[in-house]
């Protein structure tokens, strides 16, 4: 019997009532009396020297409050980077200045050159047209390999080159890895591109800065996945506002996918300008601006080599990746191709020796940072493609080759610094095989061929590290922040609870799933629990929502705070029932004394805490409110096996996804319906990357895909009815809920399944294609078939 409440119940999402009836309160819905609007004049060239900016005509235009340029931000801090990577030689990465408004040079199309604050947006825009820019074009640096070649134009004149860092991992193992390759019975090599993506959340970014002079307080309303992080980065590093004078609010946020983690120039501008103009200042991104100012994702060019012995055991793995940073370092950019990517290269396999080399490169493009999965999809894609290619080269079944090399004993210490606590990769593969009728594939292929189509089946595994992350570990790895989470549980006098969590919810359904946990712990109705998040003024310090960390880290903090509450209520109950605290049991919303029929209701105990007439005041304080910070002991390691079947129309090259199956192990599941939705969304983005999405620049650094006319988003009819399963459960051993996280899995695990299937289909048609880069657009597939 499925449960209808508490942990494991598919409780309907309470937040959907407001989202689906247009009652959400998004940042753009926030309007402050007297607010002004800002229009950002953005560079339309990729690289140039700013000779002069004449704003005098603009400043005199109707409605204009003030025009800002880079000069107004001299003496103000730059946008900080939250992670420092140390290179192969022990040197810190090259870290360029990142001004709020361009100073001296423009470095990508879309960079802010000037900002006009006016009474209305159209007045601001009119005035921006009157700004006279004198900019000398410089050659644009677009291709990563050309960017690091001798004599390349530099994106940042004060850096030694366009190489941000040259990272080796694990550097000490390099010699042993090379030796294993020299002794290998077989080596499979693959070069591939992990295509650049634009996150495209449905709600574009918005920022409203406000300032109250009487108390010298600044408030920023922003579309953020982590308001506390923005408060810290912007307050401490950019504007020099102490945290007690700065409030950051992220109300309802319409999707983030990573792109709303980072601290952006527009946020700092609106906060700064509100104080400078003594007036609230609002910015709402247009979709066109989003394409050229939201951090992009992926954009890796990699070579991966797999060494095998004569029995097809993986003996070593070696990779070389060029990772695009864009023109500046966005908040977490350096960590994505390194610590979120190199540490995942073992995948589900017991490969004993691994060496990962990553060259991070500056180019005249929009900064690149984390996008759903962040580093882990890039690792999984390389690994699962090279394993598939190896199976083809060796003439062995790709599933059997994987199974032969699976890690089977846990905990497992990988050669890339992380230790998997639990997993059962055969179980998820068995589950997958039971879902996809592999035996029937030959008949399905024959049916497709009878229709003039090619059919392919692609299978792959994935492992991811999420529940980010142990602070002491990430500190050693270069993180400039801790990655704990916090929660305050406040019980009101009549027994209802409010949980103030640092985990922001922007589609994940926390407002529903977090109460399920509390309801289960106390034995009360979920409706007695309310979740508050997204406002630094009324939630404890939080590191935010990304890296599939909310339930594993934020949920654990909430559990710890609730445990403190329960411990205190047991003391009160013991006092009320004149029993020993050790004998008190809490079940179904009531406290009882073991072995007696004495009992007192949850609500009565809570009331006693606030009306402490009969209360152990000498032992405990009145009131019921507890805070806990939770710092995870390890990452969590969800894993799974995915399969995709495609059909290709050989006349046009069009690929259609015929079926897609996902068997995941997420550890314990709080709300199966929400988990299924998260997997569906992740799969849509992963299939979107494989089939459709690509952000392209021309050689001059002009964005070719600046709108939906050229950037192909996945639509419902591009996607099949997924089969998803999460019945394989190996609970996480180091967090109180045994949960692993599910937010990114679909996006991490699905691209290789699609490409493996496409290659399988093409080869079945006699085409000598052993790799095809994403997205597998019709023209690309047709060209591969006809070259």
């Amino acid at each position: 019997m499925p449960k209808d409440s508490g942990i494991g119940a598919s409780t309907k999402r309470r937040e959907d009532i407001r989202f689906l009836t247009g009652q959400g309160n998004y940042t753009d819905d926030i309007n402050i009396a007297g607010q002004a609007h800002v229009y950002f004049l953005r560079s339309d060239i990729a690289h140039g020297t700013i000779n002069s900016i004449d704003t005098s005509a603009a400043a005199a235009m109707p409605g204009v409050v003030r025009v800002f340029t880079g000069a107004d931000f001299e003496g103000v801090g730059g946008i900080p980077c939250g992670w420092q990577v140390t290179d192969r030689h022990g040197e810190p990465m090259q870290e360029p200045a990142h001004p709020v408004i361009a100073q001296g040079k423009v470095r990508h199309v879309g960079e802010i050159v000037a900002a006009v604050v006016a009474d209305s947006l159209s007045q601001a825009r009119d005035a921006a047209e009157a700004i006279v820019l004198d900019i000398t074009d410089l050659p644009a640096v677009v291709d990563m390999k050309a960017a690091v070649a001798e004599g390349a134009t530099k994106v940042h004149d004060d850096l030694t080159s366009n190489l941000c860092y040259d990272w080796g991992f694990v550097e000490e193992n390099k010699g042993a890895v090379d030796e294993a390759f020299a002794n290998a019975a077989h080596v499979t090599t693959l070069e591939l591109v992990n295509n650049r993506l634009v996150a495209n959340p449905m709600e574009p970014r918005v920022a409203v800065g406000d300032y109250t002079r009487h108390n010298d307080e600044s408030t920023l309303y922003t579309t953020s996945q982590n308001p506390h992080v923005i408060r810290l980065l912007m307050g401490a590093f950019v504007l020099g506002i102490p945290e007690h004078k700065l409030r950051v609010v992220a109300p309802d946020v319409g999707g983030g996918f990573g792109a709303k983690i980072f601290h952006y120039a527009e946020e700092a501008f609106c906060t700064f300008a509100a104080k400078a103009c003594n007036r609230a200042v609002k910015w709402t991104s247009s979709r066109s601006e989003a394409f050229m100012s939201d951090a992009h994702g992926r954009d890796h060019v990699s070579k991966i080599e797999l060494a095998l012995d004569a029995e097809n055991n993986f003996t070593a793995l070696r990779t070389e990746t060029y990772a695009n940073m864009g023109a500046y370092l966005s908040t977490f950019a350096p960590s994505v191709p390194t610590w979120l990517h190199g540490t995942l290269m073992a995948g589900n396999y017991k490969t004993p020796l691994i060496y990962v080399n990553v060259k991070a490169v500056f180019t005249n493009t929009v900064p690149v940072d984390a996008y759903r999965g962040a580093g882990r999809p890039e690792a999984t894609y390389q690994l699962e493609r090279v394993v598939d290619k190896a199976a083809r080269e060796l003439g062995v079944d790709p599933v059997a080759l994987r199974r032969q090399n699976f890690v089977t004993e846990f905990p497992y210490e990988t050669p890339v610094a992380v230790a998997y606590d639990t997993g059962d990769y055969h179980a998820t593969m068995d589950q997958l095989e039971s879902m996809i009728d592999r035996e029937g594939f030959a008949a399905r292929r024959a049916a497709s061929e009878a229709n003039g189509k090619l059919r392919g089946l692609g299978v792959n595994c994935y492992i991811e590290a999420c529940g980010i992350a142990p602070s002491n570990l990430v500190g050693q790895l270069g993180a400039r922040a801790g990655l704990y989470e916090s929660a305050t549980v406040r019980v009101n006098a009549t027994g209802g609870l409010v949980v103030m969590t640092g985990s922001h919810s922007h589609g994940q359904g926390h407002e529903t799933s977090f109460p399920q946990v509390i309801a289960e712990m106390i034995g009360i109705d979920e409706s007695m629990v309310e979740i508050v998040h997204g406002d630094t003024a009324n939630t404890p310090m939080g590191m935010g929502t990304y890296g599939s960390r909310s339930i594993a880290v934020g949920g654990s903090a909430m559990v710890r705070a609730a445990e403190k509450i329960i411990a205190k209520t047991k003391k009160i109950a013991a006092h009320l029932m004149e029993a020993s605290e050790a004998d008190i049991e809490l079940k179904d919303g009531a406290f009882s004394v073991a072995g007696t029929d004495k009992s007192v209701a949850w609500g009565d105990v809570c009331l006693a805490a606030y009306v402490p007439h009969n209360y152990p005041l000498e032992d405990i304080e009145p009131g019921l409110e507890e805070t806990a910070f939770y710092d995870p002991a390890n990452f969590t390691y969800p894993s799974g096996a995915y399969a995709c079947e495609v059909e290709i129309d050989p006349e046009t090259g069009k690929v259609t996804i015929e079926s897609f199956a996902a068997a995941d192990d997420f550890g314990n599941v709080i709300n199966p319906m929400i988990v299924e939705g998260q997997v569906h969304g992740g799969l849509a983005q992963g299939i979107g990357q494989a089939l459709l999405e690509a952000c392209a620049y021309d050689e001059n650094g002009q964005l070719l895909t600046g709108s939906y006319m050229d950037y192909a988003m996945p639509r419902a009819d591009d996607l099949p009815n997924y089969q998803v399963d999460h019945s394989c459960v190996t609970p996480c051993t180091h967090n109180p809920l045994g949960v692993k996280g599910c937010g990114e899995a679909g996006a991490i695990g699905s691209p290789p399944a699609v490409i493996n299937a496409v290659v399988d289909a093409l080869q079945s048609g006699g085409h000598a294609v052993d790799h095809i880069d994403m997205p597998v657009s019709p023209s690309r597939v047709w060209s591969a078939m006809n070259s």
């Binding site: 459709l692 050229d710 192909a712």
Partner: protein
């Protein structure tokens, strides 16, 4: 968007005189023009809305000719031409999404003459007559390359007359992002021959494929196209497909349109 005046005349005559004003521009469904204005790439002083003119709306079939008012939406064509001219109704029903089809008009589409638009293929593929407030223009003379037509400044498409074929079909291979035609082919079979019009493919915009017309006029079957090919020269070459790919698709889509013609 810049500020503009908005007028909504009730007759073609009133619309024509409004169009004589300085920087006046016709507004059909606004599906192309309004996004352009929002980008500040167009800045008409006056928008003359045509959708309030009853004479410019509706679909009627008489004497083997389908007449469509210039301000008729794609959705109306999709439903009202379904019986009399299924090839055209099918084309209209696959333009954009429901919102676009309920706003966008045939006159707007033909006036705009986007090289990837669908209606130009039907107009050229049927040898339609474009009727304006001042004259009638044969489709063969009307389309003059990408975004370029025979329309004069201020001229309004009031209706389009399309000879109803014995059999016809439009095959659109969509550009993955915009879902406009990467290549679209309209094939129409008449008693006196077959017409084939290609959209999406060429740098010259919509055009006829005369070699295919001749082959199909002799033998209206997909096999008649076998062996014919289109040169990749002059084909659009962009992110979504090379010239060679588009040239190849012209053959594939033509065959499919012939096979599906009804």
């Amino acid at each position: 968007m810049y500020n503009f005046e908005f007028v909504q005349p009730g007759s073609v005559a009133d619309a024509a005189s409004a169009m004589a004003g300085e920087d006046a521009q016709a507004l059909g469904g606004g599906q192309t023009l309004l996004p352009t204005m929002k980008q500040r790439l167009a800045s008409p002083a006056t928008l003359v809305s045509l959708t309030g003119i009853a004479d410019m709306k509706g679909v009627s079939a008489a004497d083997g000719v389908l007449t469509i008012g210039g301000a008729t939406t794609h959705a109306t064509v999709a439903s009202e031409a379904a019986g009399s001219f299924p090839g055209l109704a099918g084309l209209a029903s696959h333009i954009g999404d429901p919102a676009v089809r309920n706003r966008g008009t045939i006159g707007g589409s033909l006036a705009n003459n986007d090289p990837a638009a669908c209606y130009p293929a039907a107009a050229l593929g049927t040898g339609a007559t474009i009727v304006t407030n001042t004259r009638e223009i044969a489709a063969d003379d009307y389309f003059q390359g990408m975004f370029s037509t025979a329309l004069d400044e201020g001229e309004i498409i009031t209706s389009v007359r399309l000879p109803i074929p014995q059999a016809s079909n439009y095959q659109k291979f969509v550009q993955p992002a915009s879902r406009f035609a990467l290549v679209g082919v309209f094939v129409a079979k008449y008693a006196d021959g077959v017409r084939v019009a290609v959209t999406g493919a060429s740098e010259e915009g919509v055009h006829r494929w005369t070699a295919a017309e001749e082959a199909l006029s002799a033998n209206f079957s997909a096999s008649a196209i076998e062996g014919l090919s289109v040169a990749a020269d002059g084909m659009i070459n962009d992110l979504h497909g090379t010239g060679a790919y588009r040239a190849h698709l012209v053959g594939v889509m033509t065959k499919r349109a012939v096979a599906a013609a009804s």
